[in-house]
Symmetry: C2
């Protein structure tokens, strides 16, 4: 299978590596940043397309791993007829690729990628969707070569999954950031929190998170929450977040 990779960010990089490791050949890499394209191309043994016009037209699969608002523009720069093209976005619908080719779809790997950290792609869930049952099956078969966890989702389900991932990953990482910010203000090393963070994530690998919630909010420990709010006095935005998140915990668990 001949694959063209469009994009050179974290998703493109990890997908490129994963395809290579699975024995697939990336024939070309294109990116708005030619230098990044070159780097990625080198690392997966592909050629570089310096412009969209240079992109070969006879590949079996075109993977668009670019920002959501660039998907349509980049796709329109390609000349396709019935070659398979997929985007890798969690929130963009499949319809953003409408009329780009007869075979369109989505190939969304659900993981947080950093270029510097390797990821075991076999364990990365991949949500796939195609515009016909045949296309869906083709995309599924491709995903199966990379991961043990392929799932068929329509665009609404995928968007819900993506929103869930924002809470579970992006907002969570921001909680780490705010915690570090608090500790920095008191010259406390962030290392003190790292075991706690690891344990918090480990706990829910085999539990429903709602059942292992701890802390002052779920205990209705107003005294402790007031002490913390008092401490956050100097940072009104952080104080308001503390208040809202505590209230959200209280509300969630009083309904349940």
């Amino acid at each position: 299978m001949k694959i063209v990779l469009l994009g050179s960010g974290n998703v493109a990089t990890h997908l490129g590596r994963a395809f290579k490791m699975a024995g697939q050949s990336i024939v070309q890499v294109w990116s708005r940043q030619p230098q990044n394209a070159q780097e990625l191309a080198d690392s997966v043994g592909a050629a570089v397309a310096l412009s969209l016009e240079e992109v070969v037209t006879d590949a079996d699969l075109y993977i668009l791993a670019v920002k959501d608002d660039a998907i349509r523009t980049v796709a329109e720069g390609l000349e396709l007829d019935e070659q398979l093209i997929v985007h890798t976005s969690g929130s963009a619908g499949m319809d953003v690729l409408e009329n780009i080719s007869k075979k369109i779809g989505v190939f969304y790997p659900l993981q947080t990628f950093s270029k510097s950290k390797a990821v075991d792609f076999r364990q990365v869930p991949i949500a796939v969707e195609g515009n016909t049952p045949e296309v869906t099956q083709t995309i599924r078969a491709i995903a199966d070569r990379l991961s043990e966890k392929v799932i068929l989702l329509d665009s609404l389900q995928r968007r819900t999954l993506h929103a869930g991932a924002v809470f579970a990953c992006n907002f969570t990482n921001h909680m780490y950031t705010l915690a570090r910010h608090l500790l920095d203000g008191c010259d406390l090393p962030f290392d003190l929190l790292r075991p706690l963070i690891a344990e918090t994530a480990a706990k829910i690998q085999h539990n429903d998170p709602a059942t292992v919630q701890t802390g002052p909010a779920i205990r209705h420990d107003q005294q402790t929450m007031d002490a913390h709010l008092d401490l956050l006095q100097r940072d009104p935005a952080l104080k308001e977040l503390y208040r809202m998140l505590s209230q959200s915990i209280i509300n969630y668990h009083s309904q349940a």
Copy 2:
């Protein structure tokens, strides 16, 4: 060393086990819930005190692992003179034990404990404080037997650390809960998010969380955020949280 454990919750349970494993003897366990006290006493080979009056007066260390608002009341039920007594709270000041004994202090293990899940106590940071340098040293020496990560903190630093832990652990777990809630509404299995959660926590073990922030907010990807907000339409509280947390990410990283 003879230790009396007051309380039978998660902290008391894990501390009791850790002391036992370190070869220390828990002589007595008291709890407001006699049945829980019995269970914990059995598991650490201690006797049960059915009332505070029954608590022995000749122990070397009294550990108060009870809710913050119960610390003072329980402590006042004991008859101490110069026996060492510590509480295990992150946010209560040492002064809550004032005049309970000549030797008072704090022994705060920073970890999220569930009774059902074992914890490697050697890696659990313990913040200690005493009312005199000698008392501080005594408490430190005791903590050193359980953990490699003992740190001296005053009450304000400890409270800051505790507030940081609320963000890094309690609020984080609530993010997992909200993510699951979202997925449940669409019949998507939470298992899809577990690898992502593990990777998000693993990433910051060797990175500053601010440098590995991902997601639509830090990319200023308004299109995706709008798509998510639209999806959260039916749940105004969740929608507002999404909006506030995204804004917090944007603000934090535009200042930095």
